[in-house]
């Protein structure tokens, strides 16, 4: 670590701090990896001698927090590693990610929780916080040693990739989670309804002759899990919500005081089932891209608070696995590096969201769900932040992706808004070239 690492002043920047509802031109002072000042107006002259970074024309936001990524390690290192996934996260402006436990071995013991955390620390690109499995090997049969795993650093429990089929077991998991202080994340789906489906069931699946996954598969799953959350009094977070019907149930549950939170993913906001029309497997994920009506409902739900946050559901696969006819290709898309730009395009440029709204949905709101201290630029907080050029248009290209996954639906599409640099505890994790130029200015 060089002497100046973790110490700098960012000047001439537009500050977006959702924890203070602050949107103003100002400055940010970082000392020893923490924010020591972040206010409107120019940085004070004199005082401590810190490197000054000219960030005119950029916005600074708390580092993004992603509650839903698949980094595939241990076990599937050909798809992604914690190191490559972390680099992709930093490139997307993320400073905290929650990794899903569907690895091999699954994250179902404290030892594997430690492994993921340590690999994350070694990569040093973002805070890698593991979600631990609900059941051994995600088999839906028996509970794991949750206390051990939470002590080791697990921040949530989930069998993501699939639901916990046994409702009675899931009820008791939810009840037990109340003494752990971590939320249970549910992948809500009735698998007997999704069966062998590969895309949303509707006019496009009919036209393409592909087996459908009805929206009802998700709605039925969410209905069950909401009732179990109500029964147990636990904190439950619904992953990757895709359908209007599920949103209506979540909205009602929140009105009734059930402790439920929910997320959606950028791809659901930018694409619909019609994008599957060319059988391009980059548009295949689970839950699937749904109808235009569902997409509209997701946008409304982000606006009215039914949805709390946006998570990428970054799910890399090797090019060989994904480069197959639609039916055969695995589910999942990569999205860490494009998440902000895609949401910015859809919600801010083409929608009615303010930039501060979007920053909140991607930082403070998800941080609160896992009880993390992220999502703020208040003095005293860790200096996790990202600098963004909201005017720049760019086109994601395969060769620029830092993720090992190439299954990105935004490749070749023009997006507006680009992360220029990301800092973790005041240390640059993305944007070396930009930072050199900015210091030189």
């Amino acid at each position: 670590m060089s002497a100046n690492e973790g110490n700098l002043i960012i000047e001439g920047v537009r500050i977006l701090d959702p924890s203070r509802d602050l949107d103003a031109k100002g400055h940010l002072v970082v000392q020893e990896g923490k924010v020591t000042a972040c206010d409107a107006g120019p940085a004070p002259e004199g005082g401590v001698d810190l490197p000054r970074v000219d960030a005119k024309g950029l916005v600074v936001a708390p580092g993004f927090v992603d509650l839903h990524v698949h980094f595939r390690e241990p076990g599937f290192e050909d798809k992604e590693t914690i190191e490559t996934g972390s680099a992709a996260a930093a490139a997307g402006g993320f400073t905290t990610v929650v990794t899903m436990p569907n690895t091999s071995p699954a994250v179902d013991t404290a030892a594997v929780v430690h492994l993921v955390r340590n690999k994350g620390l070694a990569a040093g690109q973002c805070r890698v916080l593991p979600a631990a499995a609900v059941t051994h090997n995600l088999e839906g049969k028996s509970m794991c040693q949750y206390g051990d795993m939470v002590d080791a650093g697990a921040v949530a429990l989930t069998d993501d990739g699939q639901p916990v089929r046994d409702a009675g077991l899931f009820r008791h998991v939810l009840e037990y989670s109340r003494i752990l202080g971590v939320p249970v994340i549910t992948h809500a789906e009735d698998e007997t309804l999704s069966a062998e489906g590969v895309m949303h069931e509707g006019k496009w699946s009919t036209r393409l002759g592909l087996k459908g996954i009805p929206a009802a598969a998700e709605v039925v799953g969410v209905a069950r899990d909401i009732e179990l959350a109500r029964l147990s009094g636990a904190r439950m977070h619904v992953a990757h919500v895709s359908s209007r019907g599920a949103l209506e149930l979540i909205r009602r549950a929140k009105d009734q005081g059930v402790a439920v939170t929910a997320e959606t993913a950028p791809h659901f906001l930018d694409f619909t089932d019609a994008d599957c029309a060319t059988y391009d497997s980059r548009f295949k994920m689970r839950p699937p891209l749904r109808s235009m009506d569902d997409q509209q409902a997701l946008v409304e739900a982000l606006a009215d608070g039914t949805l709390d946050c946006i998570s990428s559901d970054h799910a890399p696969h090797t090019p060989n696995e994904k480069e197959q006819p639609f039916d055969l290709a695995p589910f999942g898309v990569v999205g860490l590096e494009t998440a902000f730009a895609a949401c910015h395009d859809r919600l801010v440029r083409r929608g009615s969201f303010s930039l501060l709204d979007l920053v909140r949905l991607m930082s403070l709101a998800p941080a609160r769900i896992i009880g993390s201290e992220g999502g703020t630029l208040r003095p005293g907080a860790a200096a996790d932040f990202t600098l963004i050029d909201t005017e720049t248009s760019w086109m994601p290209r395969e060769r620029d992706l830092l993720s090992k996954g190439r299954n990105c639906p935004w490749l070749g599409r023009s997006l507006t808004g680009r992360v220029q640099a990301t800092y973790l505890a005041g240390r640059l994790t993305h944007g070396q070239r930009w930072a050199q130029e900015a210091v030189a200015r």
């Binding site: 069931e201 509707g202 006019k203 699946s205 009919t206 036209r207 393409l208 002759g209 592909l210 087996k211 459908g212 009805p214 060319t278 059988y279 060989n320 480069e323 197959q324 006819p325 639609f326 039916d327 055969l328």
Partner: protein
């Protein structure tokens, strides 16, 4: 000549292209009635028939069409092939193309597999049936048969009865027929009618008597036993009770209405033997037309022009 190197589906064909194929098919149909039913328009061309899914009649029909055009033909079927050894579809086809093949005819269990190939190889691709998506040459032979009976298809009413959900024949029929102005009704038990199929331009009627009352043609689809095992309907006997096309159904139809079936038939399940063997069916005409219309597709995709055919086969 067609606009593209491939025939992947009827959805993306224009009505002019459909008519051009059908008219060319009619010309080739006349060739088939000659003592020597061959025209050497594809001499020196090589066509590979890749059947990744079982087929008897479609494979034979393509092979005959190719041989009657004097093309060199190679056949490939999935069983015992390198596919079983884990080779990808793309690698399999690249290997075949390296042997200098001009046109690929592919039957595949996955919807979109021909599209996947067509995007990745320079050779033309003819879809001989992909998953539940389309079976364009079956659609064309059905339309050719209907035109022989009805003349123009504009304003004609065609009812398709059976398992619409899993049927690529139904989808190709709907696209092709509606493009030529026909009105298509699909009929079958609700679990076998796919969601929002009306968006493809047809109407849905789950009652067989109502569905066929005004029809000019009834196209009966094969019911597959495995659907019953998946609990999509109660069983063959129950199916036959509500949806079998039999004499008493035909008796209520318009007098000129005729019956088609793409085969293979489950006699007395979706169609009664009396109808299958009766004077209202044109099932074997469909088979003959299949060869002719496939000759037309292969000829046109190889750069042949309908107008130059006159000299060739005169």
């Amino acid at each position: 000549m067609l606009r593209t190197k491939d025939l992947l589906d009827l959805e993306s064909c224009t009505s002019a292209e459909l008519l051009s194929i059908l008219d060319t098919g009619t010309a080739f149909r006349r060739v088939m009635d000659r003592p020597i039913p061959k025209v050497p328009v594809l001499r020196g061309r090589t066509i590979a028939n890749l059947f990744f899914e079982n087929s008897t009649r479609t494979r034979i029909s393509f092979e005959l069409a190719e041989k009657r055009l004097n093309a060199d033909v190679v056949n490939f079927s999935a069983s015992g092939s390198s596919l079983a050894k884990g080779e990808t579809l793309k690698d399999t086809v690249d290997n075949i193309l390296a042997m200098k093949v001009d046109l690929i005819v592919i039957r595949h269990g996955q919807s979109g597999a021909p599209h996947y190939l067509a995007e990745r190889i320079p050779a033309g691709v003819v879809n001989a049936g992909d998953g539940m998506h389309e079976h364009p040459t079956q659609g064309l032979l059905d339309m050719m048969t209907m035109r022989q009976k009805l003349g123009s298809l504009d304003g004609k009413r065609v009812t398709i009865v059976g398992d619409i959900s899993h049927s690529r024949v139904a989808r190709s029929n709907i696209w092709g027929l509606t493009k030529l102005g026909a009105q298509v009704t699909v009929c079958g038990p609700p679990p076998l009618i796919p969601m929002e199929i009306e968006a493809m331009g047809c109407t849905v009627e789950t009652n067989l008597e109502k569905a066929v009352r005004d029809a000019d043609c009834i196209n009966v689809l094969r019911i597959q036993l495995e659907r019953q095992e998946n609990n999509l309907f109660p069983g063959n006997r129950e199916y036959a009770r509500a949806y079998r096309v039999e004499d008493k159904v035909i008796a209520e139809c318009r007098s000129h209405c005729f019956v088609m079936h793409p085969g293979p038939m489950n006699r007395d399940v979706e169609i009664s033997s009396s109808v299958a063997d009766g004077d209202r069916q044109v099932i074997l005409d469909q088979v003959s037309n299949g060869v002719a219309v496939r000759m037309a597709v292969l000829y046109l995709l190889s750069g042949g022009a309908p107008e130059s055919l006159g000299d060739t086969i005169a």
